[in-house]
Amino acid sequence: MGKRLFLNGNYAVAYGVKLARAQVVAAYPITPQTKIVEQISEFISNGEMDAEFVKVESEHTAMTACYTASCAGARVFTATSSQGLLYMYEMMQFTSGARRPVVMANANRAISAPWTIWLDHQDCMSTRDAGWMQIHVESAQEALDTTIQCFKVAENQDILTPVMVCLDAFVLSHTDEVVELPEQSAIDAFLPPFRLADAVDVNHPITVSAGMAPNLYMEMRYLQEQAIQKAKDEWNKADAEYGRLVGRSYGGVVENYQCADADAVLVTMGSLSSTAKEVVDNLRAQGHKVGLAKIRLYRPFPQKELCETLKGARAIGVIDRSNSFGFEGPLFSDVKAALYNNRINPPAVNYIAGLGGRDVTADDLDKIYRQLLDIGNTGQGNQAVEYIGLRWYE
């Protein structure tokens, strides 16, 4: 058993990066991510980590430096949040298109305007189609373990796709909790040193991310899609292998919490899943058959596993912590599309909650579950998008 620490999510990620033996870290400060890179700087300065820290002058440069450092064959990490992520957006596309396995931590924070620093998922949703894998965590412990798993999957020679580990701002990033530190030997067994077949080498010159005309560009994009699709299985495998070596795993790409016989199932991502599990247990104790499907891997979207989890439900609720303006929550659209593809069609309700740091309480979730149970029983319900905790509905 590893050392038991009392850490916040940011520090947990930094420990994960250290254990993964990242070689180049380039990052720019932004609340609420800053403590990740502060801690990594400290690790480097006191000799616990053998890495180069690039003191960049912007997130755009951070992502560019990560991209090229990865081209040169180094294991690379960066962290950002919100506006910083949006500033990186251009180079995120370069990184994924050039198939460089950069790992990034994103402390999910809402987007301005109105000017804000608090939690929601608008930032990562806005970069959803940048070709990055995206994985969401619910605790500091999961943040640490998942960061290490990220390197494993991203660096797989068949995948070579960058990945973003998303931890919720403040609720995870700034909350101290118990984190068990894995042994370095276990992580070394799990994660071999990074070897990139087409790394920059003066003896075998290559042009990375060469220009491609319309006659081939589409094929390159198709290759990229094939690779990211393959990653779904690799995530399950990596999680299972991590479980064997370290003793903790997280149910693969979708965590099925009490869904087997559930009438009402709620689909969540991130820290909300943690509170929801508490609510599920309370309702189960009162005899209500409810369950929780926690989506860990958001891109590539785990369609098969999700439908397997949701197939028995009589009513499904999806909580989105972001908007897709002009339509419904983006996660809701994805879940519904997955269900449609598999001919599963129970009533489904979209709840928009916790935007810009609005607290989502156990009581809120309890109400949602009771509404879903009603809908499941009657087969009827309000199909409109519902805002949870909105102060004035008009």
């Binding site: 298109g97 050039a98 198939r99 460089r100 070579l160 087409d198 075998h204 010159p205 290559i206 042009t207 990375v208 991310s209 060469a210 491609m212 081939l216 094929e219 390159m220 198709y222 290759l223 690779a227």
Partner: protein, 93 residues
């Protein structure tokens, strides 16, 4: 991996469009309208044409330079730079 200028299947394309360098596959020589012609007698081997040629198509030799036409686009810089007027631009064909 080797360089495949005319890919015929997905497997011929490398991940991330990372291609081996040093493969100029288009013979830009056929872009020429005028071609440089060297008068070896006049050449003083000062190498100005050699250093100015954008395509690196002029070869350094013992006594005087030699023009290769594979990638020469006929820009005429060599003729313009030559202090001893040893290179003349002649119409192709």
């Amino acid at each position: 991996m080797g360089f495949i200028p005319n890919p015929s299947k997905l497997g011929d394309l490398p991940a991330g469009a990372a291609f081996e360098g040093g493969h100029p596959t288009t013979q830009t020589g056929n872009w020429r309208v005028f071609q440089p012609v060297l008068d070896k007698e006049k050449c003083k081997n000062c190498l100005l044409c050699w250093v100015f040629c954008p395509e690196g198509m002029i070869k350094r030799q013992e006594k005087c330079v030699e023009i290769s036409y594979d990638f020469c686009k006929g820009c005429g810089i060599c003729a313009n730079e030559c202090p001893s007027k040893a290179i003349a631009m002649a119409k192709e064909g």
